[in-house]
Symmetry: C2
Subunit: 272 residues, 2 copies
């Protein structure tokens, strides 16, 4: 066998998330179905992603690996997969990687982007599947709140209840704000060693609550300290969220995203 | 009665174009249905647009007017309409205009944008409804071809067959090329006194043929001269096309588009 690493972009609107679930259309499901005939009859196919994305969440640079028979290693994987995948999932890049590479465990950090729509009156139809219409925000207050998220912290207050993880400690390398493709957009980006379930949507919901004046920036510190999900503001909707990029230490990987990023240089092991 | 002018944005993907047609979902149809309860029971509603857009074609700044009872003139039209319109049609701006204003006949020019996707391998899923995946092009050849389109000309070769118009002469004020929201995109913009049916898609099909080396830039001159639709290259698909803006001489109108445009200053009367 040899290991192929795929960079994937998808429009998550019509998917019940990444992970295969019976009777549901999932990104993993359509990808494994597209891989099966390329790998050979009777072969079992299992794709491993850097992490699951929730229902309705998008990706520009999800990373996944799959083991294929050595006889197939030279297939034009990108072209062959894109020929049968539905148009809302695309292979942005494909390359062979060492068997020591693991899409999830080799990752050192990930970057998520959450796009807010600040105009009070309307969302541009062309952008409605990719933004949250939260309306005007006090961005200075939001920035002050975001500063409390940096560093190694226990993010239990921003983890969805009912999920199991050994630890809820993660390291937030960067949180930054930039303009989007339309002047009404504001993009929040989060780069961390790993993310808990719905963590970015919970953080965004919290930052938007501060931006709306419903919470004080300093409240973020107490939410973190108390670790009580039900005390922190509500979760932001899925459609504004996008997994932009997964960072690996040794495998330089083609970028699924045209934006320029100034990435942090942390080499902390990935979690979650 | 008083006249309300609406600037409209829509995602044309799920519409059979602007114009009302029996049994079809059209932009005019959903807009008139949303207007009816606001205008009053038993009132007939007719919305007049700057022009029709074809099935699958988008808009950022379509302009339409509607006459409403004077007693309703102070309704918050944008908010009231957006509350009931489907999310793929939005009122970007609404204002009262003089009864002498006519969305179609007062227009002096229009600007259409056609977005090409130049990457050979894949279209980003997030952009698939708004671009044509034409692959790599010789943009210098395309630019040389575009120069032949400028000025007052007979565009019969770029008019869809089977349509009726008094004249096929239009004035092309500008054709220009810019980058899009993704590095793989190239946006062609056309500003003219008016456009014939499918003219922008036919012009784009022609420019792409030149960019692919299937036609010479100089061929554009002969297509124009011969006026034979069947001699010119094939029509570009609908989903890359967007009506960005309609220009009027006296009514300064809010812009539905965040891009900066350097508009021409022609005051030639609108046609088509």
């Amino acid at each position: 066998m040899c290991r192929i690493c795929l960079t994937l972009a998808y429009d998550g609107t019509d998917y019940a998330g990444w992970q295969v679930q019976p009777g549901q259309r999932t990104v993993q499901g359509v990808l494994e179905r597209a891989l099966r005939p390329l790998i050979g009859v009777g072969e079992d196919v299992r794709v491993h992603a850097s992490g699951r994305t929730d229902s309705g969440v998008h990706a520009l640079g999800q990373v996944a690996h799959v083991d294929v028979p050595t006889s197939r290693r030279d297939l034009p994987w990108q072209k062959a997969l894109n020929a049968t995948l539905p148009p809302d999932v695309r292979v942005v890049a494909a390359r062979e990687v060492p068997a020591t590479f693991h899409a999830r465990f080799s990752a050192i950090s990930k970057t998520y982007a959450y796009t807010l729509w600040l105009d009070p009156d309307y969302v541009l139809p062309q952008r409605r599947r990719h933004v949250w219409h939260c309306g005007p925000l006090d961005l200075n207050a939001l920035d002050r709140a975001a500063a409390f998220l940096l560093g190694e912290q226990d993010f239990a207050a921003f983890r969805n209840t009912g999920t199991e993880t050994r630890s809820t400690v993660r390291t937030m390398h960067r949180v930054w704000r930039s303009s989007g493709v339309h002047p009404a957009e504001c993009v929040l980006r989060f780069q961390a060693s790993g993310f808990l379930k719905q963590m970015v949507r919970n953080l965004t919901g919290c930052l938007v609550a501060v931006g709306r004046g419903k919470a004080e920036p300093e409240n973020v510190r107490s939410y973190l300290k108390e670790g009580d999900r039900s005390a922190a503001p509500a979760t932001a909707p899925a459609q504004g969220l996008c997994l932009e990029r997964v960072e690996y230490p040794d495998v330089p990987f083609p970028d699924g995203n045209g934006d320029e990023h100034q990435m942090g240089s942390s080499r902390a092991p990935a979690r979650g």
